[in-house]
């Protein structure tokens, strides 16, 4: 049997490169706002028992405004990148604005092309390709579900 290392493959199929964009891998490897908040006003721990993805999300809310969001998480690139991007996006947003973004994110995961073009989702639009991989949608929505739970608690 040939035991030489396999040849490097040709470029990955477009679907996969759409899923694993550079921006997603960058957030996976260098997550923004990772850690805990000293003066958190809201905190939620959420996990997906089927796949083992976990997130501890903390918010510092002043009045109606999310002043800061941080997370600690463990999981796949999609869930961790989504959490990192989300903590950046919701900073200085009001709670109703953040919940509206959660709805847009959810719509984008269901394949809504309008949502995928919605500039208010910022870098999260890089995750639009996840909608083509149904079993991974829950990964991208885990941090958003944590956010929704946190502000509604």
């Amino acid at each position: 049997m040939d035991t030489s290392p396999p040849e490097p493959p040709p470029l990955p199929p477009p679907q996969l490169s759409a899923l694993y964009q550079e921006l997603i891998l960058d957030h996976y490897r260098r997550p923004r706002n990772k850690g805990t908040l000293e003066q958190a006003t809201h905190a939620v721990s959420l996990n997906n028992p089927l796949c083992g993805d976990e997130i501890d999300l903390q918010l510092r809310v002043d009045g109606d405004i999310i002043k800061e969001a941080r997370f600690i998480g463990r999981g796949c690139s999609i869930s961790q990148a989504a959490a990192s991007m989300m903590t950046q996006l919701v900073k200085d947003k009001s709670i109703p604005q953040a919940l509206a973004l959660a709805d847009r994110m959810s719509a984008m995961m269901q394949g809504d092309e309008g949502a995928a073009r919605d500039k208010t989702l910022g870098e999260l639009r890089a995750l639009a390709g996840v909608s083509k991989f149904p079993v991974r949608i829950k990964c991208a929505l885990l941090p958003w579900n944590a956010l929704t739970d946190a502000v509604k608690a």
Binding site: T3, P6, P8, P10, P12, L16, C76
Partner: protein, 133 residues
């Protein structure tokens, strides 16, 4: 009724081949997979080294690529693996990994499947920047 008939045919089929030959086939493929995967830089294969101590399954991780990402990438090449903690959370903690990817071989697999697995893993490595695409 048809279920019982089908089961009987399946049992006759397996008895004709014999469990020893099936185990030998599985172990040979697992050994080949371990050898191939171990040559990919960044891949860690778990479990005993001795072939006789192994079933036809190969658990592995690849750098910081989460096993669920590995599974999605392999799936695109028609390769079905299991990824996660395999209901063995204490073992995962002991191994200090969040999860592993796991390929399983059986009678219907051949050495071409080992090749396909190794090739698709290199593709996963390329997507995550481990090897040049």
């Amino acid at each position: 009724m048809e279920g019982a008939v089908g089961l009987a045919a399946a049992i006759r089929y397996l008895e004709r081949i014999g469990p020893e030959r099936i185990a030998e086939h599985e172990q040979a493929l697992a050994a080949a997979a371990i050898e191939r995967l171990s040559q990919i830089e960044g891949v860690t294969v778990y479990g005993p080294q001795a072939r006789s101590d192994r079933a036809g399954v190969v658990s592995f991780t690849y750098g910081d690529i989460h096993p669920h990402d590995i599974a999605t990438i392999l799936d695109q090449d028609g390769i079905c693996i299991r990824a996660g903690h395999h209901c063995t959370q204490p073992l995962m903690r002991r191994l200090n990994v969040a999860a592993t990817a796991r390929a399983s071989f059986y009678l219907y697999n051949g050495s071409d499947d080992v090749d396909a697995l190794a090739g698709a893993l290199v593709k996963a490595g390329a997507l995550f920047g481990y090897v040049p695409a």
